[in-house]
Amino acid sequence: MSIFVNRDTRVVVQGITGKEGQFHTRQCIAYGTNVVAGVTPGKGGQKMDEVPVFNTVAEAVKQAGANCSLIFVPPPFAADAILESVDAGIDVVVAITEGIPVLDMMRVKTYIAGKSVRLIGPNCPGVISPGQCKVGIMPGVIHKPGGPIGVVSRSGTLTYEVVHQLTLQGIGQTTCIGIGGDPVNGTNFIDCLSAFEADPDTKGVVMVGEIGGTAEEEAASFIREKLSMPVVGFIAGLTAPPGRRMGHAGAIISGSSGTAQGKIAAMKEAGIHVCEDLGSLGKLCKKVFG
């Protein structure tokens, strides 16, 4: 089992004919993902390798049966691409694009509130259920199918590091989700944690956070109250100076809020096994998850 994406997921890639779109579509297909369509306005009727290209997402849904979209559209047009997917009836929207204006994302988030669509990202590596389906830009090879651990993270390559260490310890994953480094995103830690809680095959979670905002603190209280499985946590940015945007738009300490120290304290208080030294995360997971 897994959450959000699985063997039955039928992917449409928005921006499939661009450089990144092409490269990662091929990577996804090589991993075994069922990419049924691509969308590039004006290029409908063409093919990217064997994948049919449509002008609109609505056509891709109707003619190719897509139920999940993967977005590589540049920032000025990305909010539009997300909304197009939502209105076309896509179930899971994965937005890889980095650099979408915050106000655009606030409107998107408000528009989708209360709808059943799941938006993952933006500014994220995507989601993978190892051995089944990869909807994103992560290297498939570092993952180990079969579970029993779920991974949720605000980062990209840091997630790869964490997954790699799990795999080296022989610990497989059910699903790994990068929720993205932007301040306003579609899916948060709590959404993923409750989905893992409902997944019978997920027996533990690794949660990777970073400085900025209060998402980790909120997740910590959710874990204390609702989660029945053990959680290993990591927070990046102990040495980050306040007031500076550390690469990710959302990774900024403002005043006394959003510090790594505060998040680590909240996580410890919630009974999360906090790893303070990334080099030993795999070993800690081995100890906690057995």
């Binding site: 920032p75 000025p76 979408i100 204006p101 915050v102 106000l103 655009d104 994302m105 606030m106 988030k109 408000t110 528009y111 509130a113 590596p125 830009i137 992560m138 290297p139 090879v141 570092i142 605000r154 980062s155 990209g156 390559t157 840091l158 997630t159 790869y160 590091e161 790699h164 480094g181 301040p183 306003v184 990777v208 970073e210 400085i211 905002g213 209060t214 998402a215 909120e218 990591f234 990046a236 940015g237 102990l238 040495t239 980050a240 100076p241 007031g243 500076r244 550390m246 690469g247 990710h248 738009a249 959302g250 990774a251 005043g255 006394s256 790594a260 030294d277 990334l278 080099g279 030993s280």
Partner: protein, 386 residues
């Protein structure tokens, strides 16, 4: 991106928000000229730097005469202003703002911020103005009024009334305040702000509401649609190395330590800085070369890191995954040869063909040291600088 107070006040004026009369001055003589133009006394001379706490640091002074205005301008212009936000090295004052003094009845706090958790745009106001708002929030949270606006519905009259009545203003000033709230909200949205703060917003003795201060910053992701705002960027307010890095699309932040580091991805870059510290050394920078990394980026990264004379060793941490390590290693060797590397470099990479990558580093004849994993890399680089 931040702008100066005088620039923010110009935007305020464009949106019909009352600001004190006055103008920016580029030197002492110009400041005196600006004071004369006002035709009124007292006047206020304010240092223009991108940092708060200017008053406490001696960067804001009131002059009762023109002679005093000149001496204040002489004192402030060219000074190195140190505030709690500048760090101990302070900031050189290269611009002044000269304004009319006002007869202040009450100081208020006003801000508009995006709330990331709820995706709403929030007014945060308080009648306890002029103070550090975090202090107000900690000591007297009941004095802070928050009004959240749905970004799809937009600003409504009742939001503005909640702000104006929440500030406990005299009846004569309420109408003006609601208009100001509405205009500031429009400004915030139309220019893609990430923060708009007025501390203090003042009520004058004759019941006018005026923005005595103005602080604005903008969403860097949205600058592509605001060329007018981009023009306001003041490179003198930024670290020269950071400006240079941004020209190469590198995300660089200078720190005080001596271990330079270059990483692909922001989260991993932060975690790498952390592990350097845990190994007993101090990071000299944050440098994210982006999720994919190529030889050109590594070369530019080396140049930026090596421009910092404190750097005694470098840690490169690239989690390639899809990237091939042999390609990456060749890129590192090529870049290192080009820039004339003069400090040892520890390289930790992960991805396909990692053994081949390590062989390339080893056989390069350069001072490139392979690490087997992250913990090993941090330890090796910490040992080098110790």
């Amino acid at each position: 991106m931040k702008i100066h107070e005088f620039q923010a006040k110009q935007l305020f004026a464009d949106y019909g928000i009352p600001v004190p009369r006055g103008r920016a001055a580029s030197d002492v003589d110009d400041a005196l000229e600006a004071a004369k133009e006002l035709g009124t006394l007292p006047v206020v001379v304010k240092a223009q730097i991108h940092a708060g706490g200017r008053g406490k640091g001696g960067g804001v002074k009131i002059a009762k005469t023109l002679d005093e205005a000149k001496s204040h301008a002489q004192a402030i212009y060219g000074m190195t202003l140190v505030t709690h936000q500048t760090g101990p090295e302070g900031r050189l004052v290269k611009k002044l703002l000269v304004e009319e003094g006002l007869n202040i009845e009450k100081e208020l706090y006003f801000s508009i911020i995006p709330d990331r958790a709820t995706a709403k745009i929030v007014f945060m106001v308080s009648e306890a103005g002029g103070m550090d708002i975090e202090e107000v929030a900690a000591k007297t949270p009941e004095k802070i009024i928050k009004v959240a606006v749905d970004p799809l519905v937009g600003i409504q009259a009742y939001h503005c009334r909640q702000v104006a009545f929440g500030l406990n203003l005299p009846a004569a000033a309420v109408k003006a305040m609601t208009a100001i709230a509405k205009s500031l909200f429009r400004l915030f949205v139309e220019k893609d702000c990430s923060l708009l703060e007025i501390n203090p917003l003042v009520l004058t003795a004759d019941d006018r509401v005026i923005a005595l201060d103005a602080k604005m910053s903008f969403d860097s992701n949205a600058l592509y649609r605001h060329p007018d705002i981009v023009e306001m960027r003041d490179l003198d307010e930024e670290d020269p190395l950071e400006v240079e890095a941004s020209r190469h699309n590198l995300n660089y932040i200078k720190m005080d330590g001596n271990v330079g580091n270059m990483v692909n991805g922001a989260g991993l870059a932060m975690a790498t800085m952390d592990i350097i510290k845990q190994a007993g050394a101090q990071p000299a920078n944050f440098l994210d070369v982006g999720g994919g990394a190529n030889a050109q980026m590594v070369e530019n990264g080396f140049r930026i890191i090596l421009s910092d004379p404190n750097v005694k060793g470098i840690l490169i941490n690239i989690f390639g995954g899809i990237l091939r390590c042999d390609v990456l290693a060749s890129g590192v060797v090529e870049a290192a040869t080009k820039v004339g590397l003069n400090v040892p470099v520890v390289v930790r990479m992960e991805g396909t063909n990692v053994d081949e990558g390590r062989r390339i580093l080893k056989e390069s004849g350069l001072n490139l040291i392979s690490a087997k994993d992250l913990a090993d890399a941090a330890q090796k680089v910490a040992d080098i600088v110790r």
